[in-house]
């Protein structure tokens, strides 16, 4: 019926003809208004969701019970749980890492790698990485079974990778593989080999351990729709057949997903079953945590004061987010599109002294207090969790005298300037950055004016996507890269994506040196070597800054004290239940 009305709706342009169908729509909406369809409408999307609802309904909740680890999150995998289909940063990622596994794993502490489905982490020392750093060989662990009971072989691995590459879904992250993988090969039942297009030190961390590289059961997929280019797989969207310590048993849309311990897990099996509670409401989250219904909740900074002092709740602020919280300088401001009122020349930020002066003027302490509620630390040019992070690397802190000196040197002190910075409105973290910069500079010298241009996220993203970018500065946080190379290349390489858009070449005192270092660090497979190179870069980027890296934002984890041996590595996409137990 809908379809027919719809045809009529589109077919004829005439108003009169459209009205009846419009009425139909109204009736539909009116019915919604009666709200008697609440439940179904939300669940009708998936076949067994309904049974799940029935099942999950009665034994659902069970908050108090010791056998289950209850994790409250603000949403659910809207794009499904298929490693080939989930989009970056979506909740799908978070399910994948619990139920699927990868060839290599990231250790709970620090960035070093552990073998997972592979028995060894390939390095040049153990000869699993070819001299030219292009070929990686993975010896597959024996006797691993999928949730559907079939055994894991190299074929499954190849199948999984190829599957993602063939399907190449726009919403998915196939790019992660395609951009670097030349070819995949099954050497024998228990040996899998990958050839790269170019040497990449970050391959293991950022590709092999990335969501699209998760290993799925070939048989399961073949039995349920197989692989078709550009076609999402219905079955895989709603079900997960991996080798992980937990398996997805029921999914009640908008309410909860329940996971059971996988008995035949090859390694040490998980201590607890797990339940994913969808709680959109911050207050409800806090209440649930207090009431002991949740063991772990997503960090909601503005509620930290609410749970502070509650003896049953542990607030872990040790970790830091991977997203770099930055105020970026634009070195390629299109002259014609200079924001009204701005008096700066387009090449304003070409002068490193100006950028440094800005960095010295900014009040970092104020930001950490006002913007992050104290949950943060002064930043270097790498997030603490990443390889190459050096706590002793130079950090900026407010130094007005130095700022003044630099501004005088650069010749702006007497003349003064007006410059605007684009920021997302109403964002409790971003807008303070702008305001603090404004206040710091304007307090420093009355001739300095900073316009904080606040726009809604949509408008921000729109402006942000323009090339060239039409504002001298903006405030945002970057993507959570798990290997320093991607971060360095994307954000600071003079010819990287940002380098090009923002014209870093005109800004760096020695762009080639920086380019050289970043590429070398990206190529090298020797960890020490890379750390050294990145240390070098940290110094260079500090002295020749392209950002004000406002602060490293603490990654706060809030959990009940029943939770034992809680560990969390920000390089994982989210806490992994396999590690936790409850008393």
């Amino acid at each position: 019926m809908m379809v027919t009305t719809d045809r009529r709706g589109q077919g004829s342009g005439s108003t009169r003809r459209r009205i009846p169908s419009l009425l139909a729509l109204l009736m539909v909406l009116a019915l919604l208004a009666a709200a008697c369809v609440g439940g179904e409408a939300a669940q009708s999307t998936d076949g067994e969701g309904d049974q799940a609802a029935a099942a999950g309904g009665d034994e659902g909740g069970g908050g108090g019970d010791v056998g289950t680890f209850v994790h409250a999150l603000g949403g659910e995998p809207t794009t499904g749980v298929d490693p080939a289909a989930v989009s970056a940063g979506s909740y799908g990622d978070r399910v994948v890492i619990q139920v699927y596994e990868f060839l290599v794993d990231i250790a709970p502490d620090g960035p070093d790698l552990l073998p997972m489905l592979a028995t060894e982490v390939p390095t040049q020392e153990n000869g699993l990485v070819s001299e030219d750093g292009l070929t990686y060989t993975f010896p597959i662990r024996e006797g691993i079974t999928f949730h559907d009971g079939t055994d894991l072989t190299a074929d499954d691995v190849k199948y999984s990778w190829d599957r993602v590459i063939t399907m190449d879904l726009p919403e998915g992250q196939a790019g992660t593989l395609t951009e670097i993988v030349e070819s995949t090969r099954v050497v024998d039942d228990l040996t899998f080999e990958v050839t790269l297009t170019e040497p990449a030190a970050w391959f293991l961390t950022s590709v092999v351990n990335s969501v699209p590289a998760a290993v799925v059961s070939q048989d399961a997929v073949e039995e349920n729709g197989g692989v078709a280019a550009g076609e999402p797989n219905e079955f895989m969207r709603d079900n997960a057949v991996g080798t992980g310590p937990h398996q997805l048993v029921s999914w009640q849309r908008n309410e909860q997903m329940t996971f059971e311990r996988f008995e035949d897990y090859w390694g040490e099996p998980a201590a607890l079953d797990a339940r994913w509670e969808v709680v959109v409401d911050d207050a409800a989250t806090v209440l649930g945590l207090r009431g002991g219904d949740f063991d772990l909740v997503e960090p909601v900074p503005q509620f930290i004061p609410e749970v502070e002092g509650d003896e049953n709740i542990v607030i872990d602020e040790s970790g830091f987010l991977l997203e770099p919280l930055h105020l970026a300088f634009n070195l390629r401001i299109p002259e014609e599109a200079m924001p009204e009122g701005d008096t700066i020349p387009p090449d304003f930020f070409h002068d490193a002294r100006v950028r440094r002066a800005f960095n010295y003027a900014f009040d970092y302490e104020a930001f950490i207090q006002a913007g992050l509620g104290g949950q943060g630390a002064p930043a270097t040019y790498l997030p603490p969790a990443l390889l190459g992070y050096d706590p002793d690397a130079p950090k900026y802190e407010q130094d007005l005298a130095e700022a003044e000196r630099l501004f005088r040197e650069a010749g702006w002190w007497d003349e003064g300037f007006t410059v605007s910075v684009l920021v997302e409105a109403g964002n409790p973290t971003f807008s303070p950055v702008g305001l603090i910069l404004k206040d710091s500079l304007e307090a420093l010298n009355p001739n300095f004016n900073v316009n904080v241009v606040e726009v809604a996220e949509a408008q921000f993203d729109e402006a942000h996507a323009q090339d060239p970018f039409e504002y001298p500065m903006w405030i945002k946080n970057g993507d959570p890269f798990r290997d320093p190379h991607q971060l360095m290349f994307t954000y600071f390489h003079p010819d990287g994506p940002w380098g090009q858009t923002l014209g870093y070449r005109e800004g760096y005192e020695d762009p080639d040196q920086i380019a050289e270092l970043i590429e070398e660090a990206g190529r090298s497979t020797d960890v020490e070597e890379r750390e050294r190179l990145y240390g070098e870069l940290l110094r260079l980027l500090h002295d020749d800054p392209m950002w004000i890296w406002a602060a490293d934002e603490a990654n706060v984890q809030i959990y009940r004290d029943e939770v034992q041996d809680f560990v969390y590595n920000p390089l994982w996409i989210m806490p992994r239940w396999r590690y936790y137990d409850k008393g």
Binding site: Q302, P305, E306, D363, A366, Q369, A370, A425, G426, P428, S431, P432, L435, I436, D439, E442, P446, N449, V452, E454, V455, A456, Q459
Partner: protein
Amino acid sequence: MHALRVRLRRLARLSRAVLRNPSASAGLVVIVLMLLMAVFAPLLVEANTPDPYQMPRDWAAINAPPGTPGHPLGTTPEGGDVLYGIVWGSRLSVRLALTVASITLAVGITLGSLAGSIGGRWDEYIMRVVDVFMSIPELILALAIAGILGPSFRNIILALAVVGWTQYARVIRGEILKVKQKEYVDSARIIGETPLRVYLRNVLPNSLTPIIVIATLDMGKIVLVGATLSFIGLAETGLAEWGNVVSAGQQGVVAGRWWVATFGGAMVFLWALAFNMLGDGLRDVLDPRVEGR
């Protein structure tokens, strides 16, 4: 000339009546105080530079409670001085109310008059538009407009202006249709005055009574709705505007920091209350028939 004198005398009589009405005069007093505060804001609290409509931020004293030296009414999470926001907020409220009211009045009266006096097809069209606007609750429409235009005080003013004119159009039209019936207009016609003169001399003046009342009540409502919008977060951060002050204090309330929200909102309440009382008083004086509503 004589007509004018009559008008003036009538005006004088009315104003006396208004002053005699307790609620009206009470409202008037508050309004006058508010206006004084707006006018003399710089004397009360020193203007912030460069932008006087931004609360001066004291990053060293964020979320300071009332009574903190230098911040008698405390500060916002950005360290913005609440007292400043309240005093200078009165200016923005006056600006908001006046701008929106004048725009809506102009548009409303024009369209309403057109619809009423020309009638026929145009009447039909205009009233349809009015219906459409009236079929969406005011705040929601304003919210949507402001939201789509993006967060800024200017857009709030714009949104309210777009939303608010319909009631005037309606009233004017109704009044005109009513007045049209009255025979003295006909007689005027018979004397051979042009419709325009008739309109200007007879129709418009007679339609003004309800308009005045509504406009007064509106002055209060505009600020109320405007404040609500900026409370929801559609004004620039740190803007010295009452609703925005409350908005800044909202998160704090849950964490026990009651003051920011409380002081900001009290001003909005006072403002709206004052105009409502004045409006009701006016209504009772101008046409006692319509009580309530």
